[in-house]
Subunit: 405 residues, 2 copies
């Protein structure tokens, strides 16, 4: 089972107090967090996860943004099915820093490798925060040394690591799955610049399953992300630093059935994904948009994404305003086949538009709750997909107009 | 010359007091405005423009949204190079009203035709306002009768018509061009749902030029819109009702040179376009985004549009925050060729990013003024384009979260 009940996303914010969540739940993983001094706030800002083995299998997904951060380039270059550790800093994205950024990402990995006694190519590096400032490497390298000295297999160490990767996240995000004799743990961060295009934000998944090959890890991750992280679209903005990393220690000695493993990874990705949605910048409404009646599932997802990115629709959701005309206006611009006279829309199960015409009572549907389910039928086929987004609130504008200054 | 100085968009809001602007400046046009009672505010909400001839040449551009309003469908169906009049209502878009909407658009045109003694197919119909409410036809038809009785060739009548088509517009939008013995007048409305995809919002252009054929009118309009209205992208949302209509009366007896005519129409479209940008919902910054160094002009426009639609970038502009990393993160998702390590950005002429790396002083560039010019170079070619957008402010959220309720 997962930690969060998908029918009641409020439970997803309660995991901080839970002791049985996170990346150190599976056997064979140590974690640590420190305050290296990168964040002006003085909060913890570096984390390290070590795979204590016996296996060191890994799979990773990265941003599709053409402008990639230096740590993404470093980790991509060494993404050969094996990682023994991942080091993460928050407060600075190490993106758009030219050759200096690449040099700093490499130096960070080298220091971790030295401290842990492995190769630099066995260390994944991730950064998140402001784009365009050079990393304070004195603080980062001192932080690495301290992290290496603090590694611990306790659940609390994993919880601390989850807090150390937060930026404007209000809560840390962790999940767990228990199989028969094996388990999966996960942590993630991300609140803005959130429109994955393969993978999103920083998400770290650990398992003590013994996987026969990295292909099984890759297969599970690659099949989970398209219908979980890739279906979250908060603001249409895809980060330069997005990374999802799965590491398998094999410490349980159990090799799960591939189908169960894939389903479990999917469940954990969805769990973390729903926590990301629930903590998105300025969120007051969690909005799911399901499009059916499309020609294909891909067309349905495209249409759902177009609605989810429409600022006018998102403002209406903020105002609890059942202004369904904005759904029609938005979806009409989706580059997919639809029957313009045969579109139907419902809000929270109440039909508000039938055959592209207002339904009785449409203007009085109550959208005052925190969760809004929008269903749209395009009237041309069987394709279906769901995208998760949020409303567009004053707080979103406030947070994002004051980020770097 | 046009009414607004493009180097100082503030002048564009001063046109209300100017007596020499609008659709009745050219000879051969009458206009009228009435309060039919469609708007709850009690402000004027219907306008009529009649081409008094001798010619009745017309050209029109419409929204590319697949979901079109009934008046758009009606006008498209009769768009044969001739319109004698256009009737407009604000306060109700007559969109997504099914067969009733089509019936109401047709009945409106028929009533106008009856009152003016022309054919219903010679009447263009436009509506703007809330989507999904059926038109109050008793008020609309009474309004048509009153409009027909009030038609007047005075400048004041054109000014009144420009005010009657406003929705959340704070100022009316009018323009004029004076040729040698002939002239062009124009009015437009539009503040949100503004991301034209051929034409945008409601814009009405009149001229007393004697055009040898409707092909000349169409040619001028079709060549002007791609670099004027099509380059405004306030919120990525394309209306169901967008229409640009050009009518030529021939009353001056002068046939302008086609090149001059095209340039004049372009200038008037740009003038109205800049007024639309300056009055966009919640605007506090007018932002121009020029992308150069792209493979083609089209690629440059695509990249500029991706930046202009990025909410994180727009929030930074609202905060006068020179957070250039958001420009890089946004443009990196544009589906065009770029050199990810060779992108440069300037704000108001100050380089803030050179070869994808921060420039000295980048964080202290002053963006406190109302106009921000962003220049981006992708480093791969000679393609170049400009898109005009605005910031994303608290007011935008306020206006759009309280629109229908």
């Amino acid at each position: 089972m997962t930690s969060a009940d998908k029918n009641n996303p409020d439970t997803s914010t309660a995991q901080n107090s839970s002791a049985d969540l996170g990346v150190t739940v599976p056997k064979g993983f140590s974690a640590a967090a420190v305050t290296a001094g990168i964040k002006p706030s003085g909060k913890s800002d570096m984390a390290l996860i070590r795979n204590d083995g016996p296996d060191a299998i890994a799979a990773a997904m990265f941003t599709r943004n053409q402008v990639t951060a230096a740590p993404v380039r470093y980790t991509q270059a060494h993404n050969d099915g094996t990682f023994r550790a991942v080091v993460v800093n928050s407060g600075n994205a190490n993106a758009c820093n030219g050759a200096q950024g690449d040099k700093d990402a490499k130096a960070t990995a080298e220091r971790v490798a030295e401290a842990l006694g492995c190769q630099p190519g066995d260390v994944a590096v991730c950064s998140t925060g402001l784009i365009g400032d050079v990393l304070p490497m004195d603080k980062v390298l001192a932080g690495v040394d301290e992290l290496a000295g603090n590694l611990d297999q306790s659940i609390a160490a994993g919880n601390a690591a989850a807090r150390a990767i937060m930026t404007t996240d209000l809560v840390s995000k962790e999940a767990v799955y228990h199989g028969d004799g094996w388990s999966i743990g996960a942590m993630g961060k991300g609140v803005g610049m959130m429109a994955p295009s393969l993978a999103t934000m920083l998400v770290f998944i650990t398992t003590d399953a013994h996987l026969p090959s990295s292909a099984m890890a890759h297969q599970a991750l690659a099949s989970a992300t398209p219908t979980t992280f890739d279906c979250i679209d908060i603001d249409g903005a895809t980060s330069t630093n997005d990374t999802v990393l799965l590491m398998a220690s094999g410490a349980s000695g159990v090799t799960p059935d591939a189908e169960e493993f894939n389903a479990a990874i999917h469940q954990v990705c969805l769990d973390i994904g729903m926590q990301l949605q629930a903590d998105a910048e300025g969120v007051t409404k969690r909005v799911s948009i399901t499009v059916g009646g499309a020609e294909t599932d891909e067309a349905a997802q495209t249409a759902a994404r177009v609605i989810g990115r429409d600022n006018l629709f998102k403002c209406a959701m903020f105002g609890s305003d059942p202004n369904w005309g904005r759904v029609l206006a938005a979806v009409g611009m989706a580059p997919v086949k639809m029957n313009p006279a045969g579109i139907s829309v419902s809000f929270n199960g109440h039909p508000v538009c039938i055959n592209s015409t207002g339904a009785p009572g449409a203007r009085t549907v109550d959208l005052s709750g925190a969760d809004i389910a929008v269903e749209v039928d395009l009237g041309v086929g069987e394709g279906r997909a769901t995208v998760w987004t949020t409303d567009l609130s004053y707080s979103y504008v406030e947070i994002n107009s004051e980020y770097s200054t």
